[in-house]
Assembly symmetry: C2
C-alpha cells in the first residue's frame, strides 16, 4: 500500500519544507510514502476562483489512479481526534487495501469534480489554515497516527 | 493593549522558530505582541505527569498579572472558525480592554490552578498538536485573525 500526499502549489516557505522533511523521514520508517506537488496554474489573476478550482481540479484528477482511495483535506470535512483517525487508518493499513491519496487544494479549494471523486473529506481544524501550513500540519498528524498505530512513544493521550 | 504568547518549553525546532518569526513580524505591524518561553522544568523524568503539570503551572501563574485576560490553548476548549475568532478578538481589541495572555502548555497539559485562572479555553483542532507545532499554528491563526480585522488580503473566505 502506497500513501501519496498530493499538493496544489509548491512548498514556498523554507520553514514548511524543513518541517515536512522531518516528519516525512519519520513516516518513511513505517510506510511507502511520497509527496507530489502540482505546479501553480499560470495566469490565475485573470481567472475567477471557480475557474482556478476547475483548472487545478483537472491537474489533481490526472494524478489519481482509478483504484485510489482519495481523501481531501477540507475545512468542511469530518473532524476526528488523533486517536480516532489512527484507528481508521489502522483498519485500512491492516486490510492492505487500496493506495491512499491525500489531497491539499489551492487557496480557493476544490472543484465539484474533485469532490465527486473523493471517498472522504477530512478536516484538520475548524480554522482556515494556509495551504502552506496545512501540508505541514498533515505531515505531523500522519506521523502521529503512525506512532499510535505502531506504538512509538510520541503521542501522550 | 498588549498581547503575550506564553509557552512552556523552548522552541526546539529551527523550522518552528523560522515560521513563528515570519508570522510574528506580521502581527507586530498591528499590535504590541511578545512571546515568553518558560524553560523546561528540570528533572521531570522522576516526576508524574500531574507533578510536571503543577510545576509548570506555578511557572505560568508567576508570569500572569492580576488583570490579564488569560486564554489557554487547549484541545478541550472552544472550537471556532477563523472568522468567528476574528470577531471575538475585534470586540476585545476595539474596547481597548485588558492585556491578553495566550498560554500553550507542556506535553501533559495544564494544572487545575491554571484552569481556574483562565477566562477561556480555545481549541485550534480536535487533533492533538505537538506543543511545538501548536505555537506555530497559533501565530499563523492570530495573524490571520488580524488580517481579517484590519482588512489585509490574506484570508479567503
Amino acid at each position: 500500500m502506497k500513501i501519496t500526499l498530493l499538493l496544489v502549489g509548491k512548498t514556498a516557505f523554507p520553514f514548511v519544507r524543513d518541517g515536512m522533511q522531518m516528519y516525512e523521514r519519520r513516516i518513511l520508517r513505517h510506510l511507502s510514502y511520497s509527496r507530489t506537488e502540482i505546479p501553480d496554474v499560470k495566469g490565475t489573476k485573470s481567472l475567477s476562483p471557480s475557474q482556478v478550482r476547475e483548472k487545478e481540479g483537472d491537474e489533481i484528477l490526472k494524478r489519481i489512479a482509478e483504484k485510489d482511495d482519495v481523501i481531501l483535506l477540507d475545512e468542511r470535512g469530518d473532524e476526528l481526534s488523533s486517536l480516532d483517525w489512527a484507528k481508521e487508518l489502522e483498519k485500512k493499513i491492516s486490510s492492505g487495501g487500496r493506495n491512499m491519496v491525500f489531497v491539499v487544494g489551492g487557496a480557493y479549494g476544490f472543484s465539484p469534480k474533485v469532490y465527486q471523486r473523493a471517498g472522504q473529506k477530512l478536516s484538520l481544524s475548524r480554522m482556515t489554515l494556509s495551504h502552506q501550513l496545512v501540508r505541514l500540519f498533515f505531515a505531523e498528524q500522519f506521523y502521529r497516527a503512525l506512532s499510535i498505530i505502531y506504538g512509538e512513544p510520541y503521542h501522550n493521550e
